[in-house]
Structure formats: structure tokens, C-alpha cells
């Protein structure tokens, strides 16, 4: 089976209604946090940070070197904090912050020269961690849509519906990205299905 072939049998139309309802409910919660923050409650932004930081971390981790990830995540939230008034639809806060994160990674590569990360084999004898770095490096070489979804699923531990809710993508898109990405990862790591 080729990697680019559409996977139509994975679309579960019956679950779509319940998925969308949950998505709407969570979006309403996030919108409420945004409104509370706009009204002057700083705790609301902290809560928003707790909810959305895994998303931002995953998006950034899928793109930039690991040492830079935490700084960029902080920058993303500071930017969101300062520009929250420019957010028109408070229900779309998660996809808005996700887009800020993507833009920040692009900006990062624009302002820094390309570097080569040192292999962890040189300094780390922990085979499990070395293995993790290698897998992450393989994921980073994959197309944007696949690697972002895979990092959010495998690293941040989100489910497919959660990824769809936070990124603003449809369930079907996330499902396709997950399965195609996973198949590509397996083939690149040499794992047989």
C-alpha cells in the first residue's frame, strides 16, 4: 500500500457529531478564559497557558532544535499575552496561538544560521534517550503536516480529537495526517507493519 493513497475507511462519520460537540464545548471554555483575561483576571491566562502549552510545545518541537524549544514557547505566550486584544473570535484562541507558534518558528530560522545538532551518542550512554532523539530527528524530516500531528500525538500524548480541536483542523484531516505520518515513520525506522 503506497503512503500517499487516501485512507477513506478511517473516516467515522457516526462519531463526527459527538466530536464536534465536544470541540464546541472546549472552544467555549477557552473563549471564556480569554474573556476573563480580557476583563482583567490574570489567572485566566495562566489556565490558558496550562491548556495550550503542550500544543505550542509540540508545534515548536516538531520544527526547531530542542535547545531552543522552551525559549520559543515562552515567546509565543508572551506574544499572545500582549496581542490578545487583536484576537477577534475568542473561540479560536487555540488555533490562533498555534499559528503564532508556527510563525515564530519561521522567524527563528530566518534570524539564525542553520546549525547541525550533535548526536547524543557522543555524550549520552542512555540508549533509551538516544533512541528517542533519533526517532524525533526522523519525525522532523517528515512533511510539516505529518510531523506536527505526530509530535502532538506521540510526544505530547494528545488524542486525535484533541489535536483537531486545538489546531482547528477537521477530524478527518488529523486522522489522515496521523495514519499517513505513522506509516511513513514506520517505513523510515524500518519497522514492519
Amino acid at each position: 500500500m503506497s503512503e500517499s493513497k487516501p485512507i477513506t475507511n478511517l473516516f467515522f462519520w457516526g462519531n463526527r457529531e459527538t466530536g464536534n460537540a465536544a470541540k464546541t464545548k472546549k472552544a467555549a471554555v477557552n473563549a471564556d478564559l480569554v474573556e476573563r483575561f480580557r476583563a482583567g483576571e490574570q489567572d485566566a491566562f495562566d489556565e490558558l497557558y496550562k491548556k495550550l502549552s503542550p500544543l505550542v510545545h509540540g508545534i515548536v518541537l516538531a520544527r526547531v532544535p530542542r535547545d531552543e524549544v522552551d525559549d520559543i514557547v515562552q515567546e509565543v505566550f508572551i506574544s499572545a499575552f500582549n496581542n490578545i486584544d487583536s484576537l477577534r473570535d475568542s473561540r479560536a484562541v487555540s488555533s490562533w496561538i498555534a499559528q503564532i507558534a508556527r510563525n515564530r518558528t519561521v522567524e527563528f530560522f530566518r534570524r539564525t544560521k542553520p546549525t547541525e545538532e550533535l548526536s547524543e551518542n557522543l555524550s549520552n550512554s542512555d540508549s533509551r534517550k538516544t533512541n528517542a532523539h533519533e526517532i524525533l530527528d526522523v519525525i522532523k524530516t517528515m512533511p510539516e503536516t505529518y510531523k506536527e500531528t505526530l509530535v502532538l500525538r506521540l510526544v505530547e500524548g494528545m488524542t486525535g480529537p484533541e489535536i483537531a480541536e486545538l489546531t482547528g483542523l477537521t477530524h478527518s484531516s488529523v486522522r489522515v495526517n496521523l495514519h499517513r505520518g505513522m506509516r511513513m515513520l514506520r517505513s523510515r525506522l524500518g519497522i514492519k507493519e
Partner: protein, 215 residues
């Protein structure tokens, strides 16, 4: 079902679970939220929350619209004024042309005759005058009049009114009078020298001057 576990973690998939366990080391850690708290110091000093960008945009849009309307109005007014001024300009140009043609005709009629007569009669008038001072004054008057009539009629028409009062009475300062006298003296000496030269040329014998004794 394998596919379910990848989608919503239902069921089990050892391979994906293994990958999850390995990659868990990169997972986001909660304590990093503390760093953000240090960055939120300016919260209380923020501008009033709400739809500030929208309000700002609407205010900016309204001000720009007002400015555009004002500029359009001023431009329209300016165009109307320029149209009126062009009509007025044409009218005034016609009037000026009429006036200048009239004055030219008048000046031509009044000034050409006295000019020629003045040029012809300067010498006789000066000679008929009484004292030297009167002769000088009359000569200046005549010269002034002649030189004025030599100017273009248009300029003469403009200057005429201002110069009219000066013609009646010529008042010289001390310096002017001294300079004029010196000039006249020089002219008289020159004329006498010329007379001597003319007499010599005509063969009139020079009167012998008595020689000094002992020289």
C-alpha cells in the same frame, strides 16, 4: 483495533505505546509556566481590555474619512474660485488693454508735439532766460521734459502723475548745486578752449602776452 489506539487511545497498540514511552522525554513540563508568570508584570498597566483594536480602527477610519471629505471640499472650492478668477482675469485684461490703448493714443497726441518743439527751442529758451541760475533751472526743466517724453508712453502714463508736482518747482540741495556749478564751470572752460582752437583755425592772431621781467 490498532487504528483506534492511534486516533483516540482506545484499545492497545504495543508499537505505538513503545514509541510514546520513548518520546515522552520530550514532553512539555508544567513547571515552565513559572517563567511566564515573571513576564506578566505589566498586566495591571495594560490598556483597558475590550475591543480596543476595533475601536481604534473605527476611530482611525472615521478620521481618515473626515480628512478626505475636507480635502475634497477645499479642492472643490479652490476649483470654483479659480474658475471665477479666470473670468475676472479676462475682464480685467480687457479693461487694461482698453485703458492702455486710450492712454497710448492720448500720450501720443500730447507728448510728441511738445517733444519736437522742446528739442528745437531748448537753445533759444535758455538764451532768452535772465540770470545764470534761471537759465540753468530752465535748462534742467527742459531736459527733464524731453527725457521724459522719450520714455515709452505706458511708463510715462504711470510716472506722469507722480512727477507732475516736481516739475513746477525744482529745489536743489547744497551738494547738488555745488556739483552743478562745477559742471557748468567745466563746460564753460571747455567751450572757451574750443573757441580758442576755432579762432586759431580761422587765422585770428593770438594776443601776445607780456613777458615777465628778468625771465
Amino acid at each position: 483495533m490498532k487504528e483506534d489506539y492511534l486516533w483516540d487511545k482506545k484499545g492497545s497498540d504495543p508499537e505505538i505505546e513503545k514509541l510514546e514511552n520513548v518520546l515522552r522525554t520530550f514532553r512539555h513540563k508544567e513547571q515552565e509556566a513559572l517563567l511566564l508568570a515573571t513576564q506578566t508584570i505589566a498586566f495591571d498597566n495594560r490598556s483597558k481590555p475590550g475591543n480596543a483594536p476595533r475601536r481604534l480602527f473605527s476611530f482611525g477610519f472615521a478620521s481618515v474619512a473626515c480628512l478626505a471629505v475636507a480635502i475634497f471640499g477645499v479642492a472643490l472650492l479652490q476649483m470654483m474660485r479659480s474658475g471665477d478668477s479666470e473670468v475676472a482675469k479676462k475682464e480685467s485684461v480687457n479693461k487694461i488693454e482698453n485703458l492702455t490703448t486710450n492712454t497710448d493714443a492720448e500720450n501720443h497726441a500730447t507728448s510728441t508735439q511738445p517733444t519736437t518743439t522742446n528739442f528745437e527751442n531748448i537753445e533759444t529758451r535758455v538764451r532768452n532766460s535772465g540770470s545764470e541760475h534761471e537759465r540753468i533751472t530752465s535748462a534742467r526743466k527742459l531736459i527733464n521734459r524731453v527725457s521724459r517724453t522719450r520714455k515709452s508712453p505706458k511708463i510715462f502714463a504711470k510716472v506722469n502723475s507722480s512727477r507732475e508736482t516736481e516739475d513746477h518747482e525744482v529745489v536743489l540741495t547744497k551738494e547738488e548745486k555745488y556739483a552743478y556749478d562745477q559742471l557748468m564751470l567745466g563746460l564753460s572752460i571747455t567751450s572757451s578752449n574750443l573757441k580758442i582752437v576755432r579762432d586759431k583755425a580761422n587765422g585770428i592772431r593770438e594776443i601776445a602776452m607780456p613777458k615777465k621781467v628778468g625771465s
